[in-house]
Structures are given as structure tokens and as C-alpha cells.
Assembly symmetry: C2
Homo-oligomer: 362 residues x 2
Amino acid sequence: MMVQLNCVFKCVKLSLTGMAKATIDDVAQLAGVSIKTVSRVVNGEPNVRPTTKSRVDEAIARLNYRPNPSARNLASHRSHRIGLVYDDPSAYEVPSAGYVIGMQQGVLSACRATNYDLLVHPCDYRDPQVETKLRSLIEQARPEGIILAAPLSNMPRLVRTIERTGTPMVRISPGKPSRKRPTVTTNDRQACAEMTRYLASLGHRRIAFITGHHGHKAVSNRFLGYQDGLRDSDLTFDESLVIAGDNSIGSGEAAAAVLLDRRRRPTAIFAANDDMAAGVVRVADRLDIDIPAELSVAGFDDIALARQIYPALTTVHQPLQEMAERAAQLLIEADRTTGPAGGTAVIPARLQIRESTGPAPR
Amino acid sequence: MMVQLNCVFKCVKLSLTGMAKATIDDVAQLAGVSIKTVSRVVNGEPNVRPTTKSRVDEAIARLNYRPNPSARNLASHRSHRIGLVYDDPSAYEVPSAGYVIGMQQGVLSACRATNYDLLVHPCDYRDPQVETKLRSLIEQARPEGIILAAPLSNMPRLVRTIERTGTPMVRISPGKPSRKRPTVTTNDRQACAEMTRYLASLGHRRIAFITGHHGHKAVSNRFLGYQDGLRDSDLTFDESLVIAGDNSIGSGEAAAAVLLDRRRRPTAIFAANDDMAAGVVRVADRLDIDIPAELSVAGFDDIALARQIYPALTTVHQPLQEMAERAAQLLIEADRTTGPAGGTAVIPARLQIRESTGPAPR
DNA sequence: GTGAAAGCGCTAACAC
DNA sequence: GTGTTAGCGCTTTCAC
């Protein structure tokens, strides 16, 4: 009786002052069970009688009890944290920011479902000290697992630095599949082949391609897909229709300026990412070339810009969020001692047909 | 002697296997001091003899010791976490993504300097359950402080929800200064007045303004600044030169279409944010109006797009990162019992003159 | 200046 | 099914 009164008092005090949070002992006392039983209920362990469970649940609700994460982590030897490491999109560098935000959201949805915390780690790979810094960050924050985003995921030194810390890691879009290391990617190559075939099916025969930044392996695969698509459509590969870009809007503009200045210009331009495709659209606009009547343009990624520009861009939707979520799940569900199993999970991309593509001019 | 050997063994084992991390006990043993002394050294507390300190430091280095954050948090009753709450930029919605990334970087730099963790909390304010969810997240993750970003910072119910959890909070750009609650903002109004005066100084007399989303209070202040600037320049405010926008590129285009279709069109258009200004540039391009020869365009924010479009956009640089960093510092340095002091810290914005503005046509 | 002892709030390993 | 007992690796308090 006294115990009950004590608890009710604490309950009231808690709700009024918001002071000290209720602990597992408070719950155990109020429910009249041991703390171990409370622990069982909280963690959904078996072997608790339903009536006991409901008593505990009620006490939890009345005290608004939340397990203290630090105590839990300390006792269980798990940090319940996932680190997301990505290339630092220096503030305001928007396209890349969209990429990062998409990944964060994917990881967060996996984290929220399992009560993990997300630790974000932007890092600048041009910094000569990246590796030391990254290592230090990991050792201090002690994430249970690391997700390494592209293009960092294809930088061997960075990969090894993380591996040396002994922290399980899943890489996103490292450019080539891996049997040894756990990896999540999309099918850049196949999707690009598909887009190329789509353009060919519209009657285009001179389909140009603007390649991406060579340091970004996954993006390089897109060029291979373009070649596959040409072959599938019985079009011959013409090197003069390929211009090197670097993923930026500006490089797309430059490439378009070259391509569209020719007497026999291409009727379709496929850029390895949306930013470059947006550059193409801008140049076409300036040259008064109608899209899609005179020129079809396609991109890759499906960033916000793709929907915002006019005409809205036909592109390949990269399932970024799903990829990141999958990566987080792999880490969270992994065997505690062996880490996630090696191998590559592929989340397929899909064509997103909008207004910038149409039948080839005759 | 035996102790020393043990330690050396552990040291070797640690570096070879990367297995169990060194603990404070290991360090104490190796240095031949008590754990309390190690704790003093690690936390930079006074009253440690220099020679003792250096012995401890050496042991720390040899064992690559890092304090276990969970243990530290548990014992000290502090979570060492800062929560950053912002409006969820649904994946790929890029402009907003740049805003979020900028804030994250600001908070991170404060966190890294003090060994705090950043917990990111995107939340959708249109969700009828935002408040419940947010509350739950805060109670579970137990951040020591919350940073609430605009426009959420001017939503009273959200603000009160957080306050009810008893977690100290700093708001960013809530639209109006506060003496009671700690706040960080920039001087939107003054900066806009300055930009308007700058345009007037170039000879512009018909300066149009495109207002921002009405739900975003800080952005509304920009309109006031525009009016101030007109007054300062002895220009009369002309309501017909003001068009309502909603912060999107599309609304900028729509506003520009209206303004530029008139017989006596404005010679300068000042948009309350860069996205809308980019919309204006696009429409001008379509109408073959030369920027800046025939029309000057100015924006606000200085997002990446401002540098990427042609002509590069004259705009107001909003010191987002600094604002966020300051907010985090306020929380971290705050008195543990009273929280950060009320009042508004202003980080001034500055004009960023680029190519989209020039002398008024004669 | 330094150290011993007592927790922080939880989980893990066993009893019963 | 449920409870007891030891810790997890630190900080805190207070003694010396």
C-alpha cells in the first residue's frame, strides 16, 4: 500500500514537473514485479504471462517510462547507432544535398523502426587527413555499423580505413558488385540500357551521351548501359556522340553546346545525371531548339530539379531512399559477431517518362 | 611488473585484434594511477600534477583509449546529444535540402568541437500527429537540447510541444525576435532594405517584389525590408509591383510572367528567395529579355542554384551555418539547470552581388 | 593532488 | 514464468 502510494506520488510529480524520469525500478515497483520482468516486457521477450504483461504495460504508461538509452547501451554492449558517411556537400551545393537528404531519410526510417540512432558524418575526401579524422570519429562515437555512400564507397583507402576499425560496413553504389563485402546498389547499367532502347523506340538514331564524373564509378556504369542499349537496338556506337561531363550543370551545358552546334546534330541526348541534362535543356532553350519536338533529353537520378524544370525531365528514378534503408536494415539485423553477410543487394531503378522526350523529328 | 606486462599484452592484443576496447581501468593500471585520476585527465579537470598527467596521456595513447560514451552519459546524467528538428524536405526536394544540409553542418561543427552527438529529426508539419511523434522521439532519444529550424520555429503548437518535454530549445529564425526564448536569426529585414537601396542606387525606380510563403514568418520580414528600402530611397511603394509567391520556382515564374507582360514593366525584380528569383530568370530568358541590361533580378538565401544559373544571381547571403552553429553552442554552453538564456542573437546577412543586377535601362 | 567507494539504469546469466 | 545477482565503464562524493 505504501509502495503504491509512493508510486502514485512519483507519477504525479513526474507529470507535473517533468523532473527526473521514471526508471525501470519505478515501473517494477508500481507493477509489483521485478525489474527483470519489466525488462522482458519492454524488450518483447517471451515467457511473460499476459496478465503480468498488461500490469507492467499499465505502469509504463502511467509513469510514461522510457528506457534510458545510455544504460541500455552500456549494459548490452551495443551502441544502437548507425553511422552514415558521405561526401560533404559544402553548404548550399544543392544537388548533392538532395542526395544526402534522401539517404538520411532512408536510414532514418530503418532506425526509427528499431530504435536506433543515426549519426551523420559528412567528410571531405579531398582533405588529406580524411582518414585520420574519420577513424577518430568512428572510434569516439562507436557506431555499431557504418553506411558508406557513393562516391566514397569506391575509394579503397577510405573503405580500408573503416574496415580497420572493425566496424561492420555496408557500401552504397560502389560501382561494381561485391561478393565479399555487403553492398547495396541499383542497376545503373540495365536502367540506362532500357532508357536508350526507349529513345531508340521513339525513332531516334543519333542518340548522344554525356558521361559523368570519372571518380564516381556507379555513374560510369551508366555509360556501359548506354552502349548496351544501342546494341540492343541495332544502332552503331558513334564515339563522336559521346562527350565527357563531370556531373555538373555547367558541364552539361558545355557538352550540349558542342553537340547542338553540329550540322547533323543528335536528335536525342542522354546525360548520365539530371544536372547535366538540365544544362542541356537550358542550352537548347537558348538556341531555340524545341524539346521534345526537335530534341529529346533524358537524365538519371530523378532529383527535384527534374520535375521543376520545363519541360519536365524524362529520367531514371534512382531508389535512393530504399537503398539506404536496406543498407541500414542489413546492419541492424546482422549477426552481432560476423556482421552483415557479403554480397550485393540490387534495388532496381525505373524509367520516369516525362515531357522532355518524344518521337524523333523526321 | 606483472601489471605492466599484463597491460602491454592488452595493448598488443588490442591493436592486433581490434577486439574489446581499452577501458579507464586499463589506462589507470598502465599509468599506475587510480581511475579517478585518469578521469581528471580525460576531462581536463585541474589538480593533476603535470608528470602524472603525461604518464596518463601516454597510457591513453598506447592503448588508444576512448571513453565509452554510454558509460559517461549514464554516470553524468547528460546525454551529450543535440536534436535538430526541421521540416522534412521529402527526398529530392532539393532547395530545401540545401537549407537542411547547411544547418546540419553548422550544428555538427559545434558538436565535433565538444564531443556532442547530433540527432537529426526531420518532421512533417502537415502530419496531424506531428506533435505526438515529435514528443515521443524526444522522450526516447533524450537530447540535452533541441534546435528548431524555420519555418517550424514559428509554429506555436510545435514550440509548446517541445517546451512541455522540458528540453532546452533554441529557435532559428522564428520571424520575430524573442526576449523570453533563446533565438538565433539573421537580419532579413535590414538586408532586404539594403538590397533594395542597392537596386535604387543603380537607377531603378520600378522595383518589383515577389513575396514568399506566408507560413514562413522570417521570409515575410523580407517584404518589410523591401518597403523600408524603397522609403530610404525616396521611392513610393506601388502595390501593383508586389506579387505573392510561395517560395517555389514555379511561383517565381508565374509572378514574372505577370510582371513582364505589362507595357511599363519593372526594371528590377527582387524575389524573397533564390528559387523564385531563378524562376524570374527563366521567364526573362524565354521572353528574350536581357539580364541585367534590360532587367535586374535579385534573390535571397544564396543557395547553390544562385551560382549555377546564368547569369549568376545577385542575392543576399544568409549565414545559415553560422546561425546553426551558434544555436548549438548556446545549448552546449548553457547552464545545466536553467537552460540557455532568452534573447535573440542576430547573425548579419550580407549582399552577394553577382551578374544578374546592373544599371537601370534608360 | 590523489584515491576509494558508491552509484547511474539497464541487461545477462543464472537460479528457482 | 519470474526473480536475484553481477556487472557494463564511467562520474560523483568525499576522504585523505
